[in-house]
């Protein structure tokens, strides 16, 4: 708490009502006054999403052959994108669950948005393995259900573990996110002027009325969900890591993969949160809520995770030579000097070298530089997955089967199209739901109020008996006029 006083996590002078209106009025803007920027952004994102429609249509009609995959490179863009998207999702769960358990106040103004990002990223990620199935309409074969063939999924395979991990992750993230929204949906219901908006928010808010009995169950469950989501998020990317580590392919068969994948996921996830929040806080005038301190904290998390990832790279290289396995060693040398080596050196520059700039406070405080670094990290982490997956497969055991993979236009359009899908969902989310948790912001205003409190009474346990700095004009008036 001492450090917090230096740079506030919420600018002073805010009240319950001012944070409520600043956040809730964005989605409640009348339809005719929708900002032009939002319309333009949605149209652009929607147009990009059409690339996905086209590419997936071609895939469904023609089959997997439209992609560049061929033996031995059976996994390429689809799996790269799957790992990349699911990794981006991890920052949302980390912010909403792990930082909640660690009682990090600064998470409050970014958790809702980060959770939404998680959901949309997981939705994109889940598309890819299904598209990659060859017969995507039979995706339900992956689930254990009583079937006329008398078959079960292979429960000993990491690919089946993945089905359970991703399904659980998507459902638990959705429940956690919706649960967090319920009190805010009640606020939206009470503030909405349009009768249809009011009805829809009323339905979605389940009739929330802020009862103390309800809060008691709600808070208990909220903490429990966070406690469930924390190991879940670690398990998900560990299992994604095992998809590779279980294979005997040189460059994959390594015990370091699960933790190293988790660190990489958090690294790229925080980069994506920064990439999205830096423009948004400017566009919606949320600089009071998402302050320089938030950006700096996220930059610090990104830097530390980047160092863990760098350690992973180093150990991979060290182990390749230390193991004495000639295939591992040849694979590593091929990464340094082979066909895909520009991508390898690109990822080293983007994920290891450039993030070191974040050691400097001046860089962490420079919004523009931070934005550029976050973009570079996003690209770097995509390259990392590409090199791990494609380079390893392209040079397997027999030189006679070596093969260089190059993406086709359908590979690229599918990837670009999911960026459009992601952005479309984000634009829609920003238009209809509060992107910052309003009730947690009110709580934060109340708790930080005692820093500016005129008289702190009975402040023995810190928070319980403290009065906010100054009542708003309206509050003071009603107090005078009350019976």
């Amino acid at each position: 708490m001492e450090i917090l006083e230096q740079t506030p996590i919420i600018e002073p002078g805010h009240t319950s009502l001012s944070v409520t209106s600043a956040i809730a009025d964005v989605p409640l803007t009348p339809i005719r006054r929708t900002p032009v920027g939002w319309i333009a952004g949605l149209l652009l994102a929607f147009a990009i999403m059409m690339a996905l429609l086209y590419a997936v249509g071609a895939l469904f009609i023609e089959g997997i052959g439209v992609w560049g995959v061929n033996a031995p490179v059976g996994w390429a863009f689809a799996i790269v994108n799957f790992v990349w998207w699911i990794g981006i999702g991890h920052a949302g769960t980390l912010i909403s669950a792990i930082l909640l358990l660690l009682r990090q106040d600064w998470r409050t103004s970014i958790n809702r948005f980060a959770e939404a990002m998680t959901l949309f990223a997981v939705a994109n990620a889940a598309l890819f393995p299904i598209l990659h199935l060859g017969r995507p309409w039979l995706f339900f074969y992956l689930m254990p259900y009583p079937n006329s063939m008398g078959l079960w999924p292979q429960f000993r395979s990491p690919l089946v573990w993945d089905v359970f991990a991703i399904t659980t992750y998507a459902l638990v993230s959705l429940l956690f996110w919706y649960m967090g929204l319920v009190p805010d949906l009640a606020t939206m219901r009470d503030r909405a002027k349009n009768i249809w908006a009011k009805r829809i928010y009323a339905l979605a808010s389940l009739g929330w009325r802020g009862s103390a009995r309800h809060w008691s169950h709600y808070l208990s469950l909220y903490l429990l969900m966070a406690a469930l989501a924390t190991p879940l998020v670690i398990s998900v990317h560990s299992i994604v890591g095992m998809d590779f580590a279980y294979g005997l392919v040189p460059g994959w068969h390594s015990t370091i993969f699960p933790p190293y994948f988790v660190a990489g996921a958090v690294f790229s996830g925080f980069a994506m949160v920064l990439t999205l929040l830096i423009p948004l806080r400017a566009a919606f005038h949320w600089k009071d809520f998402i302050t320089a301190r938030h950006l700096e904290n996220m930059a610090k998390v990104m830097l530390s995770m980047g160092l863990v990832v760098a350690y992973g790279y180093l150990m991979e290289i060290f182990n390749a030579f230390y193991s004495g396995d000639i295939f591992e060693r040849a694979n590593t040398l091929d990464r340094f000097t082979g066909f895909y080596s520009p991508l390898f050196w690109g990822l080293i520059a983007a994920n290891v070298v450039i993030p070191q700039l974040l050691w400097f406070k001046g860089v962490r405080r420079n919004v523009l530089v931070l934005f550029v670094i976050s973009l570079i990290v996003n690209v770097g982490m995509w390259l990392e997955r590409f090199v791990i997956i494609v380079q390893s497969l392209s040079k397997d055991f027999l030189p006679s089967s070596w093969h260089i993979y190059l993406p086709t236009i359908y590979d690229i359009l599918t990837y670009v199209g999911t960026l459009g899908l992601f952005l479309t969902l984000l634009f829609l989310f920003l238009r209809v739901l509060p992107a910052i948790s309003i009730f947690e912001m009110r709580e934060l205003v109340h708790e930080t109020g005692h820093h500016n409190a005129v008289a702190v009474e009975n402040a023995t346990d810190g928070k319980a008996q403290v009065y906010p700095a100054k009542p708003t004009k309206k509050e003071a008036d009603t107090a005078k006029g009350g019976r």
């Binding site: 359970f164 956690f176 606020t187 009739g207 929330w208 809060w215 169950h217 009542p471």
Partner: protein, 186 residues
């Protein structure tokens, strides 16, 4: 005749609702209402208020046990399903490896622990809070609708409470530091 009219009127009254400006005033008032012997009352706030649960003498939420039960069901059934499939229903001899390869069952068991734990928790929340519940008498108050989910704190005493007497209860609520006391129709 007159008596039935009064009866009707009484039945139509849900209770009294007092409004407060600060969470501290709400907690103090709640404490005094409990001490005065009222039991059928509830406090409403736009964000969770510390100390309110103790002031209302609410028992701590049973949610952890619900989630634990769901988690146990998920874990046992998940492990059992895999063991049943790989040992009994569809055994495959792969190079003489053991059929009961329990370490390989752990990831799915773990995921199902989390999944059913979360489902049970949300179902439990719906059960205890009786959600979805779009109608509640407090919503008849325009002032409640305008402020309860944004910036004001309310304390409602139900007319069903054995201690409830309109004038006496109203006087008590006015003494609690509230800015406004209003009657709520059922």
């Amino acid at each position: 005749m007159d008596n039935t009219l009064i009866e009707d009127k009484k039945q139509k009254l849900y209770g009294l609702l007092a409004k407060f400006d600060t969470p501290e005033a709400l907690v103090a008032a709640t404490r005094r209402v409990y001490e005065a012997g009222y039991r059928k009352f509830d406090a409403y706030s736009p964000y969770p208020v510390e100390g309110l649960q103790q002031a209302m003498h609410l028992r701590s939420s049973p949610m952890p046990f619900i989630v634990l039960a769901g988690a146990i069901i998920g874990g046992v059934s998940g492990f059992g399903m895999q063991a049943f499939a790989t040992v009994i229903d569809y055994p495959q001899n792969i190079g003489g490896r053991p059929l009961f390869s329990w370490p390989a069952y752990i990831p799915i068991t773990f995921e199902l622990i989390i999944l059913l734990g979360a489902f049970a928790g949300v179902a439990g929340l719906f059960f205890f809070t009786r959600f979805p519940q779009p109608y509640h008498p407090v919503f008849n108050s325009a002032d409640f609708n305008a402020h309860a989910s944004q910036d004001s704190f309310y304390l409602g005493i139900e007319a069903d409470d054995p201690q409830f007497q309109l004038e006496r209860t109203q006087r008590l609520m006015e003494q609690l530091g509230s800015v406004q006391v209003s009657e709520i129709e059922a």
